[in-house]
């Protein structure tokens, strides 16, 4: 099957091509799902792009799209589902919801925005099988999941016992393989575990009440593990003290704690709060952006807050328990899970007239605009925690259009306006920078060499947008989206469902750990390790994963 996309302006920062800037259009050729060098052979189908902007399919490296906590959110927030019923022309009849859309709606809405790959950033090992089953039902998207590690009692015991790094590496490797994960996520390092022992807060150097371990130790040990195992994505860190005013110091200390090793700080917005001003809540975005700029080993995604109703879902039960009092509507679910992790689901409405919410919004945008290197910052709302991913086009316009941004700012809570630098920041993102944030950079930080670009050999995941000065309108509906070379979206509407794949990382590790894992699962967990393990054949309805083989320093 050969396709030809004719006369598009190609925006491919990974390969240094910017047809938008040069004004030159060219053809892109696809053969059997991959991009190939242009030929003059007859194509099975041709699409005349008429100068439209052609980019690689969008990649979201942090969006909660599957797993037990999302289903708990669906269960709890039936209001969301009822308010957003199936869309007209929804040919499979199973889509709905906005803050927590169904698997089908997730795949369709993302595709309509030009996204083709999305990573679930918080898969709990004991729920891995369920998360993979759910991901298999998401159409149109390639997926992958980060395994939540660091609060599990097995790991905490290793740390407390002073186990060597090799033991840790073997355990991490085993867990990655057993759960079919792509990367390691740490959520509130050690804090979730401490909450099970009734600790209500946990700072970077605070000791776990039972194990005596510190978040710093958890973090540095796991950073070393993923480095030595050769996992492509660095530790994906949801730090300590999420949402707590004054967590800026923790965040700065956390960046320093990495000591130059690669570390990804996720939803940084929720970790950039100072305690200045009479409301004891202020923006520390400038301080934090400065340190991020100075540390090329650090990458971040923002977790932008967008106003409106959403539901927050996190493994960080400690923080979510703290926030349950401000749930709106007033209900929430919490769960301690399997000596492994936990979860907390708290519905929330971000209000533009609220000082705190308005300032959160401004802090997120400050981070976007003050972190200088577009290759190290990623466009996220931490869907659905800061807001649903369907708000991305609006967010893009906020980044690209200063006038629009300042007009929005002027409508917010007055006190919050006085507490942010945002109005003075003149930076506007270019289209190329947006393409970096949403395609090229995520592919690079995830180690996906055949994604996020349009060079020969790349997977033919392609989004075509008609240029529009109103960037929100431009990015709200893709003119065409191709998934593996198949047309799935035309004029902003899904026209076909494609089955995606699931990316997993497969490191080498010392398999002698298996005996110990068997013993642990038998005695403590009450489940056989072999039943904990998810087999390749259990992914994607038997199709199995797309495996990224890791070349570690240990073997």
């Amino acid at each position: 099957m050969r396709l030809r996309l004719k006369g598009g302006r190609v925006l491919d920062p990974a390969n240094g091509e910017n047809g938008v800037a040069t004004g030159s259009a060219r053809d892109i050729e696809i053969l059997d799902g991959r991009i190939v060098a242009p030929t003059d052979q007859r194509a099975d189908a041709e699409y005349d792009l008429g100068g439209d902007v052609v980019m690689a399919g969008g990649i979201d490296l942090h969006s909660h799209i599957a797993g037990g906590k999302m289903n708990l959110a669906r269960l709890l927030m039936q209001e969301d589902r009822r308010a957003y019923p199936e869309m007209p022309g929804n040919f499979c009849g199973c889509g709905g919801g906005r803050a927590v859309p169904t698997a089908h709606a997730t795949g369709c809405r993302y595709a309509e925005l030009g996204y083709t790959t999305v990573f679930e950033p918080a898969m709990v090992g004991s729920n891995a099988r369920g998360a993979h089953l759910e991901m298999a039902d998401i159409p149109n998207l390639d997926t992958g999941a980060y395994l939540v590690l660091g609060n599990d009692d097995f790991f905490q015991r290793l740390l407390a016992a002073g186990a060597g790094q090799e033991q840790v590496n073997a355990y991490v490797g085993w867990m990655i393989e057993a759960t079919q994960a792509f990367a390691i996520k740490i959520v509130n390092p050690g804090g979730i575990n401490a909450f099970k022992f009734n600790a209500r807060k946990m700072d970077l150097d605070e000791a776990n009440p039972h194990y005596g371990t510190t978040p710093r130790k958890v973090l540095t040990t796991l950073i070393r593990a993923v480095t030595e195992l050769g996992l492509p994505h660095p530790i994906h860190l949801h730090g300590c003290n999420l949402g707590v005013p004054g967590n800026d110091e923790t965040t700065l200390a956390t960046i320093r704690a990495a000591e130059g090793r690669r570390l990804h700080l996720t939803h940084l917005q929720f970790h950039s709060y100072g305690t200045e001003g009479d409301k004891r809540f202020s923006s520390s975005a400038a301080r934090i952006a400065e340190l991020v700029n100075a540390n090329p080993n650090i990458s971040v995604d923002v977790g932008q807050v967008m106003f409106g109703q959403t539901v927050t879902a996190s493994a960080d039960y400690m923080s979510q328990y703290r926030n349950r009092g401000i749930a709106s509507p007033k209900k929430s679910i919490g769960m301690d899970i399997e000596l492994d992790a936990a979860c907390g689901v708290v519905p929330f409405e971000y209000r533009d007239k609220s000082f705190v919410n308005a300032l959160q919004w401004a802090i997120g945008l400050e981070l976007f605009l003050l972190v200088e290197d577009p290759w190290r910052i990623f466009l996220t709302t931490d869907h659905p925690n800061g807001g649903p991913f369907t708000t991305y086009p609006h967010l893009i316009r906020l980044l690209m259009d200063r006038g629009f941004r300042n007009a929005q700012l002027a409508t917010l809570n007055k006190a919050a306006q006085a507490h942010t630098l945002l109005g003075q920041i003149t930076r506007e993102y270019s289209l190329e920078e947006i393409a970096i944030l949403t395609r090229a950079a995520p592919a690079r930080i995830l180690g996906l060499t055949d994604k996020g670009h349009l060079g020969a050999g790349a997977v033919a995941d392609i989004a075509v947008h008609t240029e529009d000065a109103d960037r929100e309108a431009m990015f709200s509906r893709a003119r065409f989206v191709f998934k593996n070379g198949r047309l799935i979206v035309k004029d902003g509407v899904v026209v076909e469902l494609a089955q995606g794949t699931t990316h997993v990382a497969r490191p080498d590790f010392d398999r002698s750990v298996e005996t110990e894992m068997d013993r642990w699962f038998d005695a403590a967990v009450g489940l056989k390790a072999k039943h904990f393990r998810v087999a390749d054949g259990e992914l994607r309805g038997g199709a199995g994963p797309t495996i990224l083989k890791c070349e570690g320093v240990v073997s």
Partner: protein, 413 residues
Amino acid sequence: MAEASTQTIHDVACGFCGLGCDDLTVEVEGRTVRARGDVCPEAARLLKRLDVADRPASVAGAPASFDEAAEAAQRILSEARAPLIGGLGADMAGAGALVDLAVRFGGVLDHYASEGLFRNYAAVQRTGWLASTLAEVRNRCDLLLVVGDDPSATWGRLFERFFPADPLFAGTPRKVVFIGGAPGEKAKGQLARADVLHIATTDLVAVLEALTGFTAGRIPPGASFGGVAVEALVALADGLRNAHYAVVTWNAAALADGDLVAERATALVDALNVTTRAGVFPLGGRDNIIGANQLMLWRLGYPLRTAVRGQVSVHDGSLYATDAALADADVLVWVSAFRPEPPPEFAGRIIALAHPETVFEKEPDVLIPVGTPGVDHAGTVFRMDSIVSLPLGALRVATLPSVAEAVRRIAEG
């Protein structure tokens, strides 16, 4: 044909009651299957297979080929006005295929054991709750409150699994308080190392309310609640407050006031978590009901008891409950792969995807005997906590289609 030799399979996972035991030992000899050693009576009964010929598919009582039966089923569904896809005793693949079927033909989806689930939803959907899972209970729970009747009649190994010999954190002895029914012999045996207390009452709701009051520091007026003296309640409330990790468990399906029990247990655990840690552990989960419900949530956005009507789904906990929906349905697709559960009385047409040993009061219009997940074919089922799922393996060569295969064939026609 070679003589069948006995094969012993260890670490067999069991998908029947929802507790998720996965350490069973099973002997297989050709088509014969039987559990060996420590196994609960329910698993022993449901795993047992004799070397008998499978019951054939049938249409209107007359034997038919699988294809003929599938075609007949499709004809019936095509003409159906209001199908009820009930029973829903299927593994994840089967449940997924059944949702596809509902999307295609319209109809109500419910599981035959959903009553308890929806009683719990009175609490979890309205206020949410703070819950726990099996491994946490095993290792942390130092005070377990069992509300209602002794659940070991339904979950034969519950207390064995809750209370391993050597928990990581909970000190000994661990305390178990039965509120309502007294523990039976089996429970007492499994709880030999624990401190067991029984508080009899006929009003569980009042007792839980009073406990919540005392726990929260209120002094409700009265000398006894639900027939339990204030002194006993105060002592128990103190015990709960002083526990490191208290867990409240109940089986809503067996409690007429299960919705209120769930709500009050939730309130009690909420009150406890202000100063210490605690969680609810609702019992349930038979025949992969939790898995089917999970699938419904991610596929349709609604739990069980949802109707698909012209490709738009809508949920209603009462109208689309099996009993109510039966009164409005003209076709019942009855699915029970885990056990020979007969369909409920129904005047309309019945398409049964049933365990081959099912005894029907009235021959279904179409019968397709299906294999059992974890016996005849592999499959996935969820445990009652909705977090952990188990891979079930095949114990013998399948001669019957799985639910997923049968449903796909019906859809293809």
